[in-house]
């Protein structure tokens, strides 16, 4: 009996150990390029490890039972007439409930850290009449953003994104943003539902016709990343992509100054 339980402890710790090892060493996610990304990856890692423990554990039990309790040749008769076990059933109701509650609260915490629970800053209301209701995506913070020129208006249409920089009064086909600055995009669709997704930033927000949406994010890594439409929008949906180019502040200012309307150039 001692042998049996020490085997059991060994197997359980092996499953947990392997799950942790995989969780920490196998990277299934793309590069991290925004403040959100490492927070997201932390949640992913926890869920990945819990999931692995449960999946490997359950699969092992099923395979073991199939092997151990298989009917041998010539064997007749039934298994034990065991119809239930209150203690066991309470255990496997309570433990999953605790795990689920933990995961739920933890992801709430993650969501809060991403800024999901914040009321959106109202800088945008400067640009429109206050009566317009804006639906929120993730909002990074309530900090008063002084840089109005990082407020960008995104229009989505079949099958392209256009980026309007109101401060410079120009429209670009690529989204240029400075690194380590909070960016706020206000998005509106001209036709059907689109979605604005940057995998490296771990953010996504639908762009809804007749209902502007806002998404705030802070890029942390200079580079070029894809902006992908994630909502089926018609035949060329798969081709509806744009790029976000994250630049050093000075490079971004150069680009901005080159593009802004002449009359705004002082």
């Amino acid at each position: 009996m001692l042998n049996k339980s020490s085997y059991l402890i060994f197997i359980i710790s092996a499953v947990i150990g392997i799950s942790f090892w995989i969780g920490f060493n196998v990277n299934l996610l793309p590069a991290e390029a925004s403040i959100n990304a490492p927070i997201y990856d932390e949640l992913f890692k926890i869920l990945f490890i819990i999931g692995l423990i449960l999946f490997i554990g359950m699969s092992l039990i099923v395979l073991y039972s199939l092997f151990k309790f298989r009917k041998r040749e010539g064997q007749v008769g039934d298994g034990i007439a065991l119809e239930g076990n209150l203690k066991l059933e309470i255990i496997w109701t309570v433990i999953p409930s605790i795990i689920v509650l933990f995961v739920g609260l933890y992801s709430y915490n993650i969501y809060d850290r991403m800024g999901g629970m914040n009321a959106l800053n109202h800088d945008h209301s400067v640009m429109e009449n206050n009566s317009e209701k804006i639906w929120a995506g993730i909002s990074q913070s309530n900090n008063n953003i002084s840089l109005i020129d990082t407020n960008i208006e995104v229009s989505a249409m079949q099958f392209a994104f256009l980026f309007n920089y109101p401060k410079g009064d120009f429209i670009s086909g690529e989204l240029h943003v400075p690194v380590n600055k909070e960016i706020s995009v206000r998005m509106e669709s001209k036709d059907v539902i689109h979605a604005f997704w940057i995998p490296e930033f771990r953010i996504k927000q639908d762009i809804i016709p007749g209902q502007p949406t806002i998404l705030n994010f802070t890029p942390t890594k200079v580079g070029k990343y894809p902006i992908i439409c994630a909502e089926l929008c018609g035949p060329y949906h798969g081709g509806m992509r744009a790029s976000i180019i994250v630049q050093e502040e000075s490079d971004y200012q150069d680009w901005f100054n080159q593009n802004k309307k002449d009359e705004l150039k002082a």
């Binding site: 793309p30 359950m58 109701t93 999953p96 739920g104 953010i203 996504k204 035949p235």
Partner: protein, 542 residues
């Protein structure tokens, strides 16, 4: 003729064709209707599978080169609609429900036999209508979700045919649901208590409640959508002041419960199959019943988790996260109970058992990714990507379809009196299990790394993984060959099974195989312990 039918089933039987032809008739026999559902569903499965193959061929290269882009969107729309509304829902509910429920409650037929036949006969025309719309003016191309405004702006005829077809199928589903509720609650053999019913009855009761509560919402929504398309109303048309997100709420109010309409009956079927092949009572009968009803209640209040990126307010996101994640608790109970049913049994390793175990492993995987997807911050990144595609195929294919195959191996002797060939069955299982996991496991990575769903072209860095996925799809396509050979050969020359090849205790096995029209020659047996294995019920010496 109506007078004859009204008298009694035996009289009705005389005016109905017998033999093979009865399967093409407006039969009132629940067993015939069950087989009609199954075969009809399987034919649509072959169509849906062909469409899936077309999708996987297109995705072997990162550019759109196999079919025109709008045809690709029609193909994915038809694939989703056919697999859900014409294969899984009719088969796990209609086919097995009709065949088994009257046996389980000890009745000679369903409560409303003619409504039952009408429910079935709505399916072939609506399915054919849906498919032929492709050849007339192009099928619907807004996805099976038909989100406006895309569904309003794409070619109208295809979308309208799609709506009509789904309305008819929804009607069929509601008729079936009412019939199951009435049969289970009102047609039980005297002396048979609710808590003595086989678990599939409870699963069908729960499912039918979901069907009756949520399908009308879908019907209403689609009627409003059709007004927007043909009559220029503005319910969901933002140009006319409509709100597109309202459609999503209404649509998912049905379509999330639809997931449970597809998996709860599968849970019920597994609960019948496992005890028989493990020679052990079903573990934790009462908690199984409570967890089914728990899933029914929770299943109705989780729909908005499909809309976390649609611009829902934070409190709503939080509520739907917690509610969704909590479905894992009753679902988990069921899985632990099944594993406990296997533990200490005398397990026959056969095709039915293998498909059921495959189901457990696949579904646990799909359930885990499901709990992850319920978390708002997690979902925001992977929503509408291949991660979601992989997740729900683990639920509906790895879950429901594996159970359908398991059930076919299990109940084939009941229907035909012949056993299916085990070697071909195991080949079928191996090809399906390997092919399925090869096809869908890599898609999780694709979604996490930036491949959205419903695309015909993608970033070339994803080509290799997509080709692996397509290879898995090829295995899945090939796996139907040994299955079909098996069905035809065994039906013709299969080994005789006898009446009760599995020595089962559930009532459908306590009559001849195939059963007589009136189900039992004499009175229906009173089965109060459908899972009494290991007790004196199956002890050979007494």
């Amino acid at each position: 003729m109506t007078i004859l039918i009204d008298k009694k089933n035996q009289v009705a039987e005389k005016i109905q064709p017998t033999g093979f032809l009865k399967y093409f008739s407006f039969s009132l026999d629940h067993k015939v209707i069950g087989i009609q559902y199954l075969v009809c569903g399987f034919l649509f499965y072959l169509v849906g599978g062909t469409l899936a193959s077309a999708i996987r061929i297109e995705l072997t290269s990162p550019i759109s080169d196999f079919m025109p882009r709008d045809v690709y969107n029609q193909v994915l729309t038809l694939h989703g609609t056919i697999m859900i509304f014409l294969w899984i829902v009719p088969v796990v509910n209609g086919a097995f429900g009709n065949y088994l429920i009257p046996f389980y409650v000890g009745a000679r037929d369903m409560a409303f036999p003619r409504l039952n036949a009408v429910a079935f006969w709505l399916i072939p025309p609506s399915g054919l209508m849906l498919i032929t719309s492709y050849f007339i003016d192009g099928a619907a191309q807004a996805g099976w979700t038909a989100y406006p405004p895309l569904s309003i702006t794409t070619p109208q005829s295809g979308q309208i045919v799609w709506i009509l077809s789904v309305l008819l199928l929804g009607g069929s589903s509601i008729f079936g649901g009412i019939n199951f509720i009435a049969t289970i609650l009102k047609l039980r053999r005297p002396g048979l208590k609710l808590m003595q019913l086989p678990m599939y009855c409870w699963a069908m009761l729960g499912t039918s409640i979901l069907v009756v509560l949520s399908t009308p919402v879908l019907a209403g929504t689609l009627i409003l959508l059709s007004f927007d398309i043909v009559a220029n109303t503005g319910f969901f048309n933002p140009v006319l002041g409509g709100n597109v997100v309202v459609y999503q709420h209404l649509f998912w109010f049905y379509s999330h419960p639809a997931v449970y309409i597809m998996v709860l009956p599968a849970f019920g079927l597994v609960s019948e199959i496992l005890p028989i092949h493990c020679r052990k009572p079903l573990f934790g009968y009462k908690t199984m019943v409570f967890s089914i009803m728990g899933i029914v209640v929770l299943g109705l209040v989780v729909w908005a988790h499909h809309m976390f990126t649609s611009g829902t307010p934070p409190w709503m996101r939080l509520f739907f996260t917690i509610a969704t994640a909590f479905i894992a608790v009753p679902t988990g109970i069921k899985f632990f109970n099944w594993v406990a049913t296997m533990w200490g049994g005398e397990i026959s390793i056969n095709s039915a058992m293998l498909f059921s175990c495959g189901f457990i492993i696949n579904f646990v995987f799909g359930g885990i990714t499901g709990v992850a997807l319920a978390q708002v911050p997690f979902d925001i990144h992977v929503h509408d990507t291949y991660f979601v595609v992989a997740h729900f195929h683990y639920i509906v294919y790895g879950g429901s379809v594996f159970v359908i195959f398991s059930s076919i191996y299990h109940w084939f002797p009941k229907v035909t009196g012949k056993l299916l060939n085990e070697k071909l069955g195991m080949l079928h299982f191996a090809l399906t299990f390997i092919g399925f996991n090869l096809c869908f496991a890599p898609q999780h990575w694709l979604g996490l790394n930036g491949m959205p769903r419903r695309v015909a072209e993608y970033d070339p860095q994803f080509q290799f993984v997509n080709q692996i996925s397509s290879l898995g799809a090829l295995f899945m396509a090939i796996s139907t060959i040994p299955f079909l050979i098996n069905i035809f050969l065994s039906a013709k020359n299969g080994e005789k099974s006898g009446d009760n090849p599995w020595e089962a205790l559930t009532p459908e096995w306590l009559t001849s195989s195939p059963p007589p029209v009136e189900n039992w020659k004499g009175e229906a047996p009173l089965v109060t312990e459908p899972y009494g294995y290991g007790s004196e019920l199956t002890d050979k010496d007494t």
